[in-house]
Symmetry: C2
Subunit: 315 residues, 2 copies
C-alpha cells in the first residue's frame, strides 16, 4: 500500500472503537454553578481506546451529558484527563455535536483545540504525549481543475475571460472540485457550466501547487489542467462568471500577451503535443485496485508502452 | 489567473472588511434566562459586508459580547438575521473564538452550521440566498507524497515494508505533506525520516486520487510519486515505521508480486525511463510568477523543448 495509506491506516485505527471504558475519577459536581445532581454512572466519560495510545470520546453517545452544564463537564473532563495521563494515554479526541458546543470552551480551557469541524459536529484534540503533537492533521488542500478543450480538427482552443478579475486575461475555464469529485469530472463540469461546451477527459497536462492561499481560507491549493476533447461547439457562456468566451486559434493563444503565465505555458505545451504527438505531453488515466479497501482508484502518469505493461518474470 | 483563483478571489473578497455596520434590531434581553443588562450599543452585531452580498461577523471584535449569555446572544442573532434578510443579504459568516463557543449552539439552533474550525476558532455559515448554498467549501484533500529514489549508477531503487501493514509489501517511502510544504520537499523529508537516505527531487511521476478516505477523516487524498536522486546510500531506517528497507534491483521490483499495484506500475514506468530516457516519463518542475499576488508557484508538466519555450510572435 502506498505510504499515504500507512498514515491513513494509523488514523483509521486511531478512530476505531475498542469498547474500552475509562473512568474519569469520582469528583462530584458542586457549587452554585451546578444545576444538576449527577446520577450514578454519569461521572464517567467513556473513551474509545486506540492501539496507538489515544482515546476518543464521542459526546453524542454519552446521553448522561445531555443535561450537564459546562462547569460540571469541565470538572469531569479534568478528572478524566488526569486518569488518562496516569495510565499513559498519549492523546484525546473529543467529538462534540454542534448542539453540545457549550462543552467546547471548557475543553479549550483545559488545553484542547479544534482539529476540525464540519456541518453539525466538531472534533477537538489534546496531546498528552511527550514533545510536540504527532497527531495527523486535517485536509490541507483544495483542488481546482481547468479544462483545456482543444479541437484537433480546427486547431482552436476554448478560452474565457473572468468577469470578476482585476485584469481580464484569457484562460481556460475551470473551478474547484466538489467533495469526492474526480479530477476529469470537475474539468468537464466546470467547462460546461462556464461555456456550455460538452467535452470528454483525455489527459492530465499540468499541476500547480500554491500555499497559504487567502481564497482557500489560508490552506494550500492544487491546480490541475486537463486536456479535453470537445463534443459540442456552440458557445453559451455564463454571463455571471465570464466576460468573454471564444474558440481561439491555439497559435494565437501561444502568442498573445493578454493571458496568464500558466495559460501561456500550457498553450505552448498543447502546440507541442498537437504538432508532435499528444503522447509527448499527456499523463493518461487508468483505474487500479486498492490493496486494502478492494476499491479502485484513478492513477495518472505517462502512458506506458505495451511491452512494459506486460513485462513478466520471463523478461 | 487560473480558474481556481477566480473562486479564490471571490472568497478573498467575501472575507474582506468593508467597515459596514448592520443593526441587529432593538429587542431587549429579558426573562429569567438573562443575567445581563445590555449597555447601549451592545444590542448591535456588527457585520462586515462583502461585495457578493454576504456578511461576516467576527465575535472577537465585539467586546460587548464578552459577558453575554447564550440565550441573549441568540435573540440578538435572530434579530440580526431578520435585518440582514430584509436588506437582501445572501449569507452570514460567523467567526467564533474557541473560548466564546457557548454561542455556537444558539447559532446552530437558528440554522448555522460549521464551515470549518482550526486551532482556536471556528467559522459557521448561514445561507440566506435562494436555492442551495453557493458558499465555497473548505479544504477537501490531504496530500501524500512518496519518493522513488533511483540510483542510475547501480540500477537499484529504495524500497521499504511498513511495520503496521496487514500485508508487508514492498513500496516507496513517503507520507503526508505538512501544511505549506511543497511536493518535492515532502518526498525528500519522508524518505530521509523513514530510511536515513538523503536525496534530491528530480521529477513528478504519477498522481492518484482517492475519495472518502477513512484515514483522511472522510476527505479525499491525493497521492503523488516523485523520482528522487540519492545523495547518500547507507540505509538507517526507522524501526518504528518500517519492517524492512533495501536497495533493490529495479528489474526485481518490476517482477515481484510482493508489492502494490501502484508500486509495480511506477517501477515499470521507471524501467522504461531508465532504458529509454527519463524525459519520456517525467513531469519536471519550474517556478512561475502568480499574476495577482506577485508570488511564485511551482508548476509541473512534461518538459518543453527550447523552441517551444521561446516561441514569439515571429513564430
Amino acid at each position: 500500500m502506498p505510504p499515504l495509506t500507512s498514515g491513513s491506516f494509523r488514523r483509521a485505527v486511531l478512530l476505531r472503537i475498542c469498547s474500552t471504558r475509562l473512568l474519569a475519577g469520582h469528583r462530584r459536581a458542586s457549587g452554585p454553578g451546578c444545576r444538576w445532581d449527577p446520577p450514578a454512572g454519569a461521572e464517567e466519560l467513556r473513551g474509545e481506546l486506540d492501539r496507538f495510545g489515544g482515546v476518543s470520546v464521542r459526546l453524542a453517545r454519552l446521553g448522561a451529558l445531555d443535561r450537564l452544564d459546562a462547569a460540571s463537564f469541565q470538572r469531569r473532563l479534568q478528572a478524566a484527563i488526569q486518569q488518562w495521563r496516569s495510565v499513559g494515554r498519549i492523546a484525546v479526541w473529543l467529538h462534540i455535536p454542534i448542539l453540545q458546543s457549550r462543552f467546547i470552551a471548557p475543553a479549550a480551557s483545559l488545553g484542547f483545540c479544534f482539529h476540525h469541524a464540519e456541518s453539525d459536529s466538531s472534533t477537538l484534540t489534546l496531546w498528552l504525549g511527550e514533545g510536540p503533537s504527532r497527531l495527523p492533521g486535517y485536509a490541507t488542500h483544495q483542488v481546482g481543475v481547468a479544462g483545456a478543450v482543444f479541437d484537433e480538427n480546427t486547431g482552436k482552443i476554448l478560452v474565457v475571460q473572468d468577469r470578476n478579475k482585476l485584469k481580464n486575461m484569457w484562460k481556460f475555464p475551470g473551478g474547484l472540485s466538489e467533495p469526492g469529485e474526480d479530477i476529469g469530472d470537475t474539468a468537464v463540469r466546470e467547462v460546461f457550466e462556464e461555456t456550455g461546451i460538452r467535452s470528454e477527459f483525455r489527459s492530465l497536462l499540468s499541476i500547480r501547487q500554491q500555499h497559504t492561499n487567502p481564497g482557500a481560507f489560508g490552506k494550500s491549493d492544487m491546480y490541475i489542467i486537463c486536456r479535453l476533447k470537445p463534443h459540442s461547439f456552440t458557445i453559451d457562456f455564463c454571463q455571471h462568471e465570464c466576460l468573454r468566451c471564444e474558440w481561439m486559434d491555439l497559435s494565437d493563444l501561444v502568442k498573445t500577451e493578454n493571458t496568464t503565465p500558466i495559460t501561456s505555458r500550457v498553450a505552448r505545451l498543447l502546440l507541442y503535443g498537437y504538432r508532435e504527438g499528444f503522447d509527448k505531453i499527456d499523463f493518461t488515466m487508468e483505474e487500479l485496485p486498492a490493496v486494502y479497501t478492494g476499491l479502485f482508484y484513478k492513477l495518472y502518469h505517462k502512458d506506458l508502452p505495451a511491452n512494459y505493461r506486460t513485462m513478466t518474470r520471463m523478461d
